[in-house]
């Protein structure tokens, strides 16, 4: 029981890392970037192609490059004054295209790498050091994102853009620029998450949509307002997944993210008040 929970916490920290860009982008632009999972996939694929530490750098660069493409698409769509749903659709298209590129270049083989061959024994549990490393990276990044949001000028601009885009624009805040920065940060975070997954459980070309899903489910389960909540959400999803893997069938385990997403959405957590009378 306790072992499942610990394993779940370690897996869940990566989910939190995927949820973080969702939260940031949703709060600054009120839409969803479906391509987060594809950035992670691209980073992992590129990192396997180049050996050593250079591979990590190339992977992250690739993910950031892909998110810059998303940025350009976003600015072009925004210029035509299109609502958020079209941005989400376009990011879906980007996700399809990136997965297809990975499939074309690398084929169907799974990507996985192991850094640590030994397992640590702590209090009777066998733990992979990579899991601990994932946890540390995730917690560090989430807390620093939270600090950036709360303490810095950039964070204040992001919050202003989220609260009232028009007002922020009038206060000389480059709203589109802030949103673009968020997309690129999302690419970087997605890339880091992809690398961590590459070094722990591995992934293949079909993973991108699933990763996006898990990230989004973790982002909304406790409300999409703050990075700390997405850490909690990611850990919770990880624990529930590990517990259901231990005690139920594989079917229930694979259903966990979508099921949670459906329940949270149906309970009206995501901007539910918009159609209850006020004009959009």
């Amino acid at each position: 029981m306790l072992e499942y929970i610990i394993r779940g916490l370690l897996n869940g920290s990566v989910y939190a890392l995927l949820a973080l860009p969702m939260t940031l982008f949703f709060t600054t632009a009120a839409t969803v970037d479906f391509a987060i999972g594809a950035y992670a996939l691209l980073a992992a694929a590129l990192a396997t192609a180049v050996p050593g530490l250079l591979g990590i750098a190339v992977g992250l660069l690739g993910a950031v490059g892909a998110s810059i493409v998303m940025c350009i698409v976003y600015v072009l769509l925004k210029r035509a004054n299109k609502e958020g749903i079209r941005v989400a659709l376009a990011s879906f298209g980007l996700s399809l295209a990136l997965s297809s590129i990975v499939l074309m270049v690398w084929g169907t083989k799974p990507f996985v790498r192991q850094t640590f061959t030994t397992m640590w024994e702590i209090g009777g549990f066998r733990l992979n050091p990579q899991g601990i490393l994932n946890m540390l990276v995730a917690v560090l990044l989430v807390i620093s994102a939270w600090q950036v949001l709360q303490r810095t000028q950039l964070g204040r601009m992001m919050r202003a853009a989220a609260a009232n885009a028009q007002g922020a624009e009038l206060a000389a805040i480059p709203v589109i620029g802030v949103q673009c920065a968020t997309i690129v940060a999302g690419g970087l975070l997605g890339g880091i998450a992809g690398l961590l997954i590459l070094y722990s459980s591995g992934l293949d070309f079909t993973a991108s949509l699933g990763l996006t899903f898990v990230g989004f489910a973790s982002a909304i389960i406790f409300g999409i307002q703050s990075p700390l909540r997405c850490l909690a959400g990611g850990l919770a999803i990880g624990v529930i997944e590990a517990l259901s893997a231990g005690y139920t069938t594989g079917m229930v385990t694979s259903m966990v993210p979508s099921l949670f997403m459906l329940i949270v959405l149906l309970s009206g957590q995501l901007g539910g008040s918009r159609y209850s009378g006020d004009r959009p």
């Binding site: 035509a80 659709l89 990136l98 499939l103 069938t249 259903m255 149906l266 539910g272 209850s276």
Partner: protein, 346 residues
């Protein structure tokens, strides 16, 4: 079938052409049948997104439910495919109706995500419910429909379904329900104030679209005679939606045009793996260049050409009225055309 239904007439001509070229060869036959089935599923996506404003990413799942229900009925119980059709229409419609009752109160983005989550759940269920769906292996040996065993006969059946779907769609948009839908899409609060029951209308719409997708799945199952979780998956949902968006979701024939273009151009690709790149790239380019789809883009082009001609006041008004009837739901473009006509009048 008068001039009041131009889209159905066009569709009828296209359908007859598709049936005429089908006997040319086995590849042609296969291509036209699959294009017809895809067009039906994509029409259902266009119905829900273009007319009701619900971005449904579950059309593939609805089609899969239709396909599985007829597969199970005809292989396990030996029932006629027509009984299967009944279930293939009913089950997705019920599921879609139940989903829409909850979802239609939510903003667009949440709706899209909820349908996507539902589609994933259906797919996982199909993969794991071994006793009914056959799990990963799927169901093989689905019998062809009696009387339509020959390929060209089946092809006619497929296109009859497509033409019927277009006819019903056009009738709907010409009715009071269609006008109510147009108000809802434009402004929900206004629709409520006008006495339109928003949630029931939207739910009925998504249920209809689910049934249409279910019919597509039914045709698919009886043509391929094999159904597995990979056949009509989330990818199929997304490509159906994508074809509708590329063609023009606000136009009745938009999804059909999108299916023709993407499916036929996709055949020219060097490798099957490049399909995602082609589809994704096409989607992004269309969203940026022609947000109303290809039909919306050409419609706008025609408008611009018309506006350039020095038209007499009465003629401009007539032109605006004419565009009003061809555009099915894009109230924005119609309003724009009217505004232009008013400006041109003095």
């Amino acid at each position: 079938m008068s001039w009041r239904r131009p889209n159905t007439v066009i569709m009828l001509v296209v359908g007859v052409l598709a049936c005429a070229i089908a006997p040319l060869g086995a590849t042609w036959l296969d291509t036209t049948i699959l294009t017809g089935v895809l067009a039906l599923i994509s029409l259902s996506a266009g119905l829900s997104f273009g007319q009701a404003g619900i971005l449904s990413m579950a059309q593939g799942a609805f089609a899969a439910i239709g396909a599985y229900s007829t597969a199970v009925l005809s292989t396990r119980f030996g029932l006629s495919p027509w009984v299967g059709l009944l279930l293939a229409l009913l089950l997705p419609a019920l599921l879609a109706w139940a989903l829409a009752r909850v979802v239609s109160r939510m903003p667009e983005l949440a709706t899209a995500l909820a349908t996507l989550a539902l589609a994933t759940l259906v797919e996982i269920l199909a993969r794991n419910w071994d006793s009914v769906t056959g799990g990963y292996i799927g169901i093989a040996g689905i019998p062809p429909i009696a009387g339509f065993e020959k390929g060209w006969m089946f092809n006619i059946l497929v296109w009859v379904f497509v033409v019927l779907a277009v006819l019903m769609h056009e009738n709907l948009m010409n009715s009071a329900h269609g006008r109510a839908l147009r108000i809802i899409k434009h402004d929900r609060t206004r629709a409520m104030a006008d006495g339109v029951a928003v949630a029931p209308v939207l739910s009925a719409m998504l249920a209809t679209s689910g049934a249409m997708a279910g019919a597509g799945g039914w045709l698919y199952a009886h043509y391929i005679t094999y159904m597995s979780p990979g056949s009509l998956d989330t990818y199929a949902s997304i490509s159906a939606l994508l074809m509708a968006v590329v063609g023009g979701p606000g136009y009745i024939l938009g999804p059909v045009l999108g299916t023709f273009l993407l499916n036929l151009l996709g055949k020219l690709l060097p490798a099957q793996e490049a399909q995602g790149l082609f589809y994704g790239g096409a989607l992004i380019i269309i969203l940026i260049v022609a947000p109303e789809g290809l039909l919306g883009w050409s419609h706008r082009l025609l408008d611009r050409l018309k506006a350039r001609e020095p038209a007499a006041p009465g003629k401009a008004g007539a032109a605006a009225a004419a565009t009003g009837t061809t555009a099915t739901s894009t109230s924005a473009t119609t309003v724009e055309a009217e505004r232009r006509a008013i400006e041109a009048a003095p």
